[in-house]
Amino acid sequence: MTQDLHTEKMVINMGPHHPSTHGVCRLILTLDGENVVECEPVIGYLHRSIEKICENRTYAQCIPLMDRFEYVTSMSCNWVFALATEKLTDLEIPERAEYLRVIMTELNRIASHLLCIGVTGLDLGALTPFLYTFRERELILDLFEMTCGQRLTYNYIRIGGVSQDIPDEFIPKCREFLDIFDEKVDDYEKVLTENPIWMARNKGIGVISKQQVYDFAISGPSARASGVDFDIRRDDPYSVYDRFDYTIPVFEGGDSYDRYRARVQEMRESAKIIGQALDQLPGGDIRAKVRAMFKPKAGEVYSRIENSRGEMGIYLLSDGGKKPVRVRARGASYNHLLIIPEIIKGLKIADLVAIFASLDVILPEIDR
């Protein structure tokens, strides 16, 4: 009886303006009913040509531009650019500056994870966790505002150290935040982790295998959720990370649920690192002597650090002049968006939204 029903595939445009694409990414989906048959991302709507502008700026002027390269964790953008330039010079970074860098970047990692978990909840319909996570994020932004005066694009970590010392009420406030933070994370876990609907929406969705992690260069919590035990802070160590003891949470499932759990555990670990860094914070000055017209040695370097989304790297080519010849900023979301068409085949639009949020893809580091 069942003669072949003539069903047409519907091409739909999850366009640049869409509530759940973080920023301006356009996904051209070919749908068969609700299932996604094929997905083709179109980017470039936020291509601000940061790399071309950096070629016409001095090294100190590149730092604020690097802030806008990945605006949710601007601290790590400053740091990776400063790290790249410091590798090309024989500057001696004071101890206190290294610790301040670690504290600020870990605080920024927590703020970025809070934003990611809040927006993942928002995308799956749970509107309340978004407000709770942003409440804690505001506390962290107060800490940043106290030190460098800005809430989002800090321009705090400079070549040779950090720009300002922390005010004296920073440490008590930071301690106070760390005390309340653990039980706040328990609140989020109570609302989301054991929620059966949350599990139903996230378990077994968008599974990334280990081989796919290697091929597509997936990094950060998304890679650690697929069983790849790799963290740049420990395996390719930079700065003073080897002086703290912290564990790297690794999960085997590889699906959206494990990526969410990897991020929640990582927040707890970062809080531990900040606590230890505050205990061991030495005195001394906060920045090495750097001439105004700073000129590094001629050479090429690729430096990378562990950003909240994954590996963030800067390829820097300098010919000894006061302006870099080539700056290539590599963001983690670049590869995370590349893998989405692979793992979305056959799933539904609702799953696409869940995967998109769980991979924590944001557009500035893709478009640059």
Partner: protein, 156 residues
């Protein structure tokens, strides 16, 4: 393996001729001739000792006189990094794709093709995706390129 052992291992085992560059960075640095790009990549990707299966970064470079493509693979298994470069000839810049070895190279190469204009033979889908579709103003990242809606920084 520390960088020195790694360099020695690679130069001894790789058939093609390589040129190692002295630099004080933590990883070995090679310049690979254009024809040996894919064999060299296959060697470092599949060799059990090296297994550099994670392509961190691939960038096109225009240093004013020569075009280059810089690749940075690393291995998540035994935590090693490598830095190697291919120099393209100025007149007709072209190189073969490595996206069948590292799938991440797919978009890296597409971006190089779009912003630098290097021809990439064998790439699955070379389409414009960063610049607007009606872009006809050359290749922006090349040195000395001046676009029609670029306002130059006024010299003090």
């Amino acid at each position: 393996m520390n960088p020195a052992e790694l360099t020695a291992y690679i130069t001894s085992n790789f058939s093609g001729q390589l040129e190692t560059v002295e630099n004080d960075q933590a990883e070995p640095y090679f310049i690979v001739p254009l024809s040996d790009l894919v064999p060299f990549s296959k060697f470092i990707h599949d060799d059990p000792q090296l297994e550099l299966n994670y392509l961190m970064n691939m960038a096109g470079v225009d240093t004013g006189e020569q075009f280059e493509v810089v690749l940075n693979p690393c291995s998540l298994v035994n935590m090693q990094r490598l830095f190697f470069k291919v120099v393209l000839d100025r007149g007709d810049p072209k190189f073969d794709t490595v996206s069948n070895l590292w799938a991440a190279a797919n978009w890296y190469e597409r971006e190089i093709w779009e912003l630098y204009g290097f021809e990439i033979t064998g790439h699955p889908n070379l389409k414009r995706f960063l610049l607007p579709d009606d872009w006809d103003d050359g290749f922006p990242l090349r040195k000395g390129w001046v676009g029609k809606n670029v306002i130059p920084l006024p010299e003090k």
